[in-house]
Symmetry: C2
Subunit: 210 residues, 2 copies
């Protein structure tokens, strides 16, 4: 992306203010999320999903499923969290849910990424983005717990409705899917019930190792 | 996507309520936006952008650039509009900005698409989604005008920072880019000033036919 860096400087001269220039640099930078590939396949199984698409899909789920949150949530805040939650993966990469070792230094990699990427923004917006991301990561507020539940449900749905494409590829056993995802119940007991049904049926059908 | 339709029936049995089943059907259906290709290329020029990625990018712009709207806007509503605005293209396809003929029956195609796709949802949410989409299309409210400005700015930025990739491919003249996009000024005079700067420089550099 060398060309892009040179060009963005030109763009910044056109912005007319340092503030807008920084905002536009960030907006150009996050285009890279379109190239951060996840393990999940999209429903037609033609290819893996990227972070930008995944974040849009979650934001739509937040918009439509907030009635199933355990506690009342500020839907707009949930949507913002889903939009922002994976931006650090531009530098830190996607960490596969069922890959143990790469989780070890995940936090350090992601904090560094947040410093650099959110740091492109004016300070007030840098702090706002970082705070949305940290809130999501900590899973303490009703909004964060619900956003995290959606972030677990979406790949399970993609997996189930592609006959377990990623689960089969990595030979994932049912109990690992259950234990990795059961925190969903803190955000939405009702959506976790649905997810458990998907997991059971997936195991019965051989989409998952029983 | 025949398999997917059969499978979604199974998923619906697991949902436990007709309401959740309909919501999940819609959420599965809109996965197809990940395969609706636009003319714009992503910044590394490796491929064309799809509607899901584009909508996420716009939602991030709405989150960060609302201070440049001509009138005060409800940011959350702008974000929701950007998330929803291209869903009808799942059936109706993307209509290229600079392609005259395909604009003739665009409205009819898109109304039909809205009937089918938003019609998958429970009635209250069907009406909410359709109303967000119609508001965006009409460009009458401050939120719609601003969302439409972002929807014009984003592909111009992708084009400029890929040295006019789509403009050159279709040999688009500068005056068409100006006339097609100048409604941006009704949503954000300041972002339109920036865009005009990009267009001028693009023409000087040969990214656009002068």
């Amino acid at each position: 992306m060398g060309t892009f860096d040179v060009e963005s400087t030109v763009g910044n001269q056109l912005a007319g203010s340092d503030r807008l220039a920084r905002q536009l640099s960030f907006i150009l930078e996050i285009d890279k999320a379109k190239n951060v590939l996840r393990r999940s396949r999209i429903l037609d199984e033609s290819r893996r999903e990227n972070d930008a698409e995944h974040s849009w899909h979650l934001a739509m789920m937040a918009l439509l499923l907030s009635e199933y949150a355990n506690e009342p949530v500020d839907v707009c805040k949930v949507i913002k969290m889903t939009l922002v939650h994976d931006i650090v993966e531009i530098d830190a990469g996607d960490t596969f849910a069922y890959d143990g070792p790469s989780h070890d230094d995940k936090e350090e990699r992601e904090q560094k990424a947040a410093d650099r990427i959110f740091g492109l923004l004016p300070e007030d917006q840098r702090d706002e983005m970082r705070s949305l991301w940290m809130e999501f990561e900590k899973r303490e507020t009703p909004e964060a717990k619900f956003a995290a539940a959606l972030d677990r449900l979406q790949p399970m749905m993609l997996n189930f409705f592609t006959k377990g494409s990623t689960w089969r590829e990595y030979d994932i056993p049912k109990d690992r899917v259950t234990s990795f995802n059961e925190h969903m119940t803190h955000g939405s007991a009702q959506l976790w019930e649905y997810a458990k049904g998907l997991i059971d049926l997936a195991a019965q059908r051989g989409y998952l190792r029983p």
